[in-house]
Symmetry: C2
Subunit: 376 residues, 2 copies
Amino acid sequence: MSGIGTVSAQRAHFAEPLRLKGGGVLPSYDLVYETYGTLNAAKSNAILVCHALSGNHHVAGQSADEFGKPTANVGWWDNIVGPGRPLDTDRFFIVGVNNLGGCHGSTGPASANPATGKPWGADFPVVTVEDWVDAQARLADRLGIDAWAATMGGSLGGMQAMQWTLSYPERVRHALVIAATPKLSAENIAFNDVARQAILTDPDFHGGHFYEHGVRPLRGLRLARMLGHITYLSDDQMAEKFGRRIKSGAGSYGFDVEFEIESYLRYQGDKFAGIFDANTYLRMTKALDYFDPALDYGDDLALALARARAGFLVIGFTTDWRFSPERSREIVHALVHNGQDVAHAEIESVHGHDSFLMDDPHYHAVVDAYLKRIVL
Amino acid sequence: MSGIGTVSAQRAHFAEPLRLKGGGVLPSYDLVYETYGTLNAAKSNAILVCHALSGNHHVAGQSADEFGKPTANVGWWDNIVGPGRPLDTDRFFIVGVNNLGGCHGSTGPASANPATGKPWGADFPVVTVEDWVDAQARLADRLGIDAWAATMGGSLGGMQAMQWTLSYPERVRHALVIAATPKLSAENIAFNDVARQAILTDPDFHGGHFYEHGVRPLRGLRLARMLGHITYLSDDQMAEKFGRRIKSGAGSYGFDVEFEIESYLRYQGDKFAGIFDANTYLRMTKALDYFDPALDYGDDLALALARARAGFLVIGFTTDWRFSPERSREIVHALVHNGQDVAHAEIESVHGHDSFLMDDPHYHAVVDAYLKRIVL
């Protein structure tokens, strides 16, 4: 049950060109966003929630249908947002944005390229975490928010929350960096590359211009998502949830679904391929691969983070093997080294990387306590 | 440098039908094999080396060309086989067999189906570890070997070494079970299923009958192998070997090879797809999934292993996350519980699952010491 009821997305158009880290320029763009709660007079109570790979602006509440009635489409982080919840809408003004390059309304590869009138497709630039933060900063300007009470996110969302403190140190009072990492490992990149190769080599990909061919690289996107799901769950959780249970009873000695884990993964893959854009998926994984704030600081993360002015809450989860608790600790150690303001929690959870999305009482209590201390 | 020089494969034809665990019958079959060393008069010095997913009968030595000259094709476990090496060819008679369903000479999906004269393709049955052991037992009969001094293998090969002690307890004096597991976890199966789905959904797979279409599902096989490689290596080893090094210098902000790990994986994927058979790959992964000797014993591994008469050497590797050292310990604990003869080593190694193939002095010393104790 959503705590905040029916919500509707809004759209902001930005006519000023956006210079991208990769060298290109986006001539103009739209961002789709939602807000929950009320911006106070001092405009000091705004929290930006950044989404991860497959997320979007619909963080909480139930999307309205065309008649304004609530639908079953509940936001991906609804369990943490609402009156009396950690992101308390009686106190905070919450903003969720679909990132540039996304496929949920903001300008992305499926949008029309103003130069041709046709979908951008492969010509949509590779966007980075830094670019997203720049685009979000313009939305903050538009909303009249000089400084966020907090930026916040899990996984790739946590990287954006962190990048905000580096790109706009004066505009972030707190950053909640959850299930994130200061940079991807070679293994992380390897998984992303296999997922990308599945999409890029799908004959229906057509070099990224599949929109014009009336097809979608469903096979590749499905494989990418199946693989992703393995890395989001923990080995223990999979064992507990599925074990080696055989769906149909006895072994079939064929290649149809047999073990329950196969059924689960194929279902997740099919569902995702049906709704997500392959070009967006490619770009989200590249944004992950490129994120590396220490790169320009001789790999010295402490040096890279030194310019942040925010207080930090860094959270890792014990069974997360995608971005393990050790990776969170790297961030904490760098901040501690600098004498910066940082709180750290390592949460016992069986849900692997997906833990950041779960309604875990201990985890939510930590977020709640941290946010309650923020003076508005 | 191979210790045993030039070797040639041999072929054995078996005209008797082989009843398979999955219910079918293989009317007849060939096994291709190699031998190294000399079978002694008592026929008591034979060691069977079983291969893993992508291995074959060419365990050691340099394959001969058509004129009998040595080629650069050195066996996959050459470093452990030869005069003075742990599998000492001055003392032992070593046998390597390409498994049924393989693609290196033994009867498999690319072989002619006697019923149609066309390649078996999708109609080649799903074969199991038990079936392989039965087929190997007939080869042992043919070679006059009543009992193996040892059966031995790593990963899927270790499962065969173990299965021998259960299918033919009187015919195995020792089993060396290396980097194996008593059964796959849900996560193991999940990885295998993504690999299979990559092959099965490749448009060039043609339901397994691609031979007749003059194409091969290279895309799917390539993805399967890329994914496999991630699970064979350790995270630490990948970090050390590749880190986040960028191949071309600066970021390209595109989807070509960029990080060195991508270059490595794509190279491995391409190389493998060029030489391996997709139908074989599917069947090898199914054999892995199905292996579960405790299944018919109420999941009680000790009960399942009780009928073994062999002595065991069980070896795990610290950084193996595919079949972790814990999985080896499960086997050891079951054998200890039964009061069976078992030695156990957990080897420190950075090479992940692939450690069993590496020329590690400590690991080889353990195998050497164990085999030296065997009285012929």
